[in-house]
Symmetry: C2
Subunit: 363 residues, 2 copies
């Protein structure tokens, strides 16, 4: 066979990483001793450890993790699979995960499924051989398939609630409930929920929370479906919102809320004087104009916690079926205010900009 990468440049060539054998020869010991100097120094005489390490350092030796993985099955690597790296919800999560892994000496291989369940499936089977476990965020796969993958490798879910599979959940419902209470307190009687992807666990959770609290407080809720959870889609659904004649809008996430802010601004509707707007996730919320009232989700913590749970599973064997729930909370900024007291004519300012369509109430 041709030599592997490390050997490809000849024994004396520059830039090559030496192997355990070369260190052994240089130090005048066996390969096993070199190995132990790094993994089980307690089994060796202190002088030996020191001598071996010194030689290793001089030669620039570092243990080959791949060879070690093949031998031990410990890859010191986990996979992190997300639907879309560029979605601002995920970078903080990735960072939390990355740092937790790093702190434990683990590497992170990254998978971007491009929002496709089929791609998730491909990535997961691909990673099965090179990682010890996987953190799967906001998966769109069917529960059965997720369970299958979970039997092949330790797997921790983020924002997907499948009994039997360890999971870390961000309870945006708690924050959403606060948001609706907040709006009710401000005198709003009629609000809209702008819905995200139908298959999204988070969306279902948020929609339900809004409906529940609204019902409890006697508010009417119109549901408007955003085509995608994006800024552009937020702008698009503005006219539908105006047609729905609401005084407050709770959006699926910040991007949509931000789009709605832009759409309202373009339509000459004042925020929060005419309409109040609430976002969710709080990833960009404090950099909008005006600063967005939003439900703050501890995404970074979720990433960190997911990795910690995974590493715990990798350590012990039975931390099975853990379910961690992280609370969210409403951060009140400048896009929510008292409901407009009076309507000057039969129609509000908003009427001038509606497209005439009306959305049904309640769904």
């Amino acid at each position: 066979m041709t030599r592997g990468l490390t050997g490809a440049r000849g024994l004396t060539g520059g830039g090559r990483t030496p192997t355990i054998r070369e260190v052994a020869e240089a130090a005048g010991v066996s390969r096993a001793t070199v190995s132990r100097a790094f993994t089980r120094p307690d089994l060796l005489r202190p002088e030996t450890v020191e001598r071996v390490r010194e030689v290793a350092a001089r030669l620039g030796y570092t243990p080959n993790v791949v060879a070690r993985a093949l031998s031990t099955g410990r890859y010191a690597t986990i996979a992190l699979v997300v639907p879309d790296i560029a979605n601002p919800f995920f970078p903080p999560l990735m960072r939390g995960a990355q740092q937790a892994a790093d702190a434990a000496g683990y590497s992170v291989v990254l998978g971007d499924s491009d929002e496709s369940p089929a791609r998730e499936d491909v990535l997961l089977t691909k990673f099965a051989h090179q990682v010890e476990g996987v953190v799967l965020a906001s998966t769109r796969m069917p529960s059965a398939r997720v369970r299958e993958h979970a039997t092949r490798r330790p797997l921790v879910l983020v924002n997907r609630d499948i009994p039997g599979v360890p999971r870390v959940l961000i309870d945006s419902a708690s924050g959403m409930a606060q948001a609706v209470e907040h709006l009710a307190d401000l005198g709003h009687r009629r609000l809209a929920y702008v819905s995200g992807p139908a298959s999204s666990w988070s969306n279902q959770q948020r929609r339900r929370a809004v409906r529940r609290v609204a019902a409890a407080r006697g508010l009417e809720v119109a549901t408007v479906q955003a085509s995608r959870p994006t800024y552009a889609a937020g702008i698009e659904c503005t006219s539908a919102l105006l047609a729905a004649r609401v005084t407050a809008v709770v959006a699926f996430d910040d991007a949509v809320a931000q789009g709605i802010l832009a759409g309202l601004s373009a339509a000459g509707v004042a925020v929060p004087d005419d309409v109040s707007v609430v976002g969710c996730d709080d990833v960009v919320a404090d950099t909008t104009t005006p600063p967005l009232t939003a439900v703050s989700a501890p995404t970074r913590m979720a990433g960190q916690l997911a990795v910690e749970v995974l590493l715990r599973i990798l350590g012990d064997d039975d931390v099975a079926d853990t379910r961690h729930v992280l609370d969210s909370e409403l951060i009140v900024r400048a896009t929510t205010g008292p409901a407009p007291r009076t309507r000057r004519r039969r129609g509000t300012t908003a009427d001038r900009y509606t497209d005439g369509r009306r959305r049904s109430l309640g769904s």
Copy 2:
């Protein structure tokens, strides 16, 4: 020795991935034949390939990439090291890199150096054994150290110009030049450049471009240093900008520009009527209020190109010292407008909000 992960659950246990040997036995062929059925099917009789693949599929066999890596030295993995995942500049870059790698069957391990050169160094040595090559973005390491790492593993830089090391550069200078021309055409005579990290290659490049074109067009340039390239720092330096009595501001990046927008808004200064603002990178620019005029950097393309260059190096041997430059361009939106024609009194509106300090011109 203890069995590895794949063997840990016994030969018949569920969830285990079968090895090449089991497929060979089940198909009644040798391990070599199974291997060839996947890597060199042209060497086998079609019927054999088909039979082996069928058995493999039935057993759920997939080649173990780690074992393959140990044998061939081809890891089918590259590393991507960035200073900060959560910095909005990087996710698009990461995504481009990820997808290019994915298209070639490569995995990406992710490193976040937390803006620390020392961490970069640690990550790079750690990854040396598990990847074929690395893409290093916006590194803060000294050139000599980067060169050293580049001799150990194929390495492609993004946004760092070190001769001898393959690199992909985003020429923000071209866009910055356009920005200054644009402002000059609008009648501005006095502008500020809000500077980013002093050690940043991009910052040096941008500052120079602004100065050069400003000089050519006879504009005065005040330089204001932002403490960090963040939204908060942008807000902070607003007072200094007002004190500098400029009618236009060119910011190091979008985050700073966005902070400046907020700061100006809070100070009652109208954009673009009183002051024009230009951002750079264009990562959030079209979601600000008003939409930010910005220099658009093809970050996603940079990530993609960097990986393509790396893979090319991994393929052939001598693509050495390539230097790809990607142009940027100015996207004019709503934060730039004609310079205010007249000053109504001795002072502009802005004077009411300055802190009295003045910044020196030219630096």
